[in-house]
């Protein structure tokens, strides 16, 4: 293989395969060609291909299973990937909260949303407000903002109470959006009026504020999420993962 490109071969191969996944040539859940076959097609040795695949696996873009094959990653649930903090109980077990979607609207991005998501002023976004409920008690108030251009038709099937976030994950898989990185910012704030209503806490209660922007394998900002956590009870531990 001629190499005017200065990057190592395995890096180039990784980029090629990354592109196939991101562009949708290879769909979520699809099985890749066997290693010798792929190596022949790309004109590299098996070892070089394997090194590229290892990189993709480390970034959770593919899943390799001995004896079965290599698959494009599927993000079937929120805890698989794209969830960057986790709540555990004091025994150390992960706790899965219920989710209640309280609003789902589409409109032009605010100034802050546009800046964080790198959108042009006035571009449309979908906004999802939801609360997350632990043992019957709402502990997290959350707003998710998505660029409408990346999730076409997203807001049409409006039935927030029932659907939870399944459609969101579905759209992500359909549109080649595979989350690989997020920028996070932490702080503590006092609960204001709307938060206190959702979380059932007094105004002024200290809340853990997590502001997160998430990027996909193509480098696009695909989600902005602002979470307010009521950690009063100290029955749970919040960790960043």
């Amino acid at each position: 293989m001629r190499r005017p490109d200065a990057r190592p071969l395995y890096v180039q191969v990784e980029a090629i395969l990354n592109e196939r996944i991101v562009s949708g040539s290879w769909r979520s859940g699809q099985v890749l060609p066997a290693e010798p076959e792929l190596a022949a097609e790309l004109g590299v040795s098996a070892g070089t291909l394997r090194r590229a695949l290892a990189g993709l696996e480390r970034r959770h873009l593919i899943q390799r299973r001995q004896g079965r094959g290599t698959y494009v990653a599927q993000q079937t649930s929120e805890q698989a990937l794209g969830q960057f903090f986790r709540v555990r109980n004091l025994a150390g077990q992960p706790v899965e909260p219920e989710t209640l979607v309280t609003a789902l609207v589409t409109g032009p991005a605010t100034e802050e949303e546009a800046a964080r998501l790198r959108l042009a002023p006035g571009e449309e976004v979908h906004r999802i407000d939801r609360s997350r409920i632990f043992e019957g008690e709402p502990r997290i108030a959350e707003r998710i903002t998505l660029p409408a251009a990346l999730f076409p038709g997203f807001s049409l099937p409006l039935a927030p109470e029932q659907l939870g976030m399944e459609i969101y994950v579905y759209y992500r898989n359909r549109h080649g959006i595979i989350v690989v990185r997020s920028d996070e910012k932490l702080s503590a704030i006092a609960a204001a009026e709307p938060d206190s209503a959702v979380l059932g806490c007094a105004i002024g209660t200290p809340l853990l504020l997590i502001e997160r922007v998430t990027f996909d394998a193509a480098g696009r900002a695909v989600e902005m999420r602002v979470s307010r956590l009521d950690t009063r009870a100290h029955r749970y531990a919040v960790e960043i993962v």
Copy 2:
């Protein structure tokens, strides 16, 4: 090489090298034997050895430099490793605070310290209280607890105001303590009296609380750190790294 051990060879090799670093056979900053030499000594191929070295490098236990050699990792400053959150200003630049050590005492571990650090009841610990100062304003109040057994003679040169934490890093390197992992717990609390005095904020101000236990390459709990961050100003972003 005979293999009653079920683990892959490269995993075994990695464990052997890990042990040499942890036990102090290879000191911090020391250069390792060249790859062909090491491979011959261990009776494995160069490829297998390189795979083991890659694992150690991923865990930051060694540093490889093309043309020069492979070195045991050196944790010369706190930001190198062993610091698990980072403060940035709004331009995204990392901000390095000043450090003021306010107390340095040695005594028996509290119940909580013993539990977190996995110590027997009554074992001695060193306790360091310090505040971290950004642009002249104290923003973090922090207590570091170290098992005295791992840091012998640590408290002897008592000059808290001047020394900062250099001695601590020095001791870590000397005693084969290389930090590789930490458990973290996040929450928000209201500032109590002592915090408000250190941080110069009103009682009740929301503070970001980070409780962290750090482990070294040998799996020992080597540090417990409780940090209270005043994020009021919102001139900084806190991220977990």
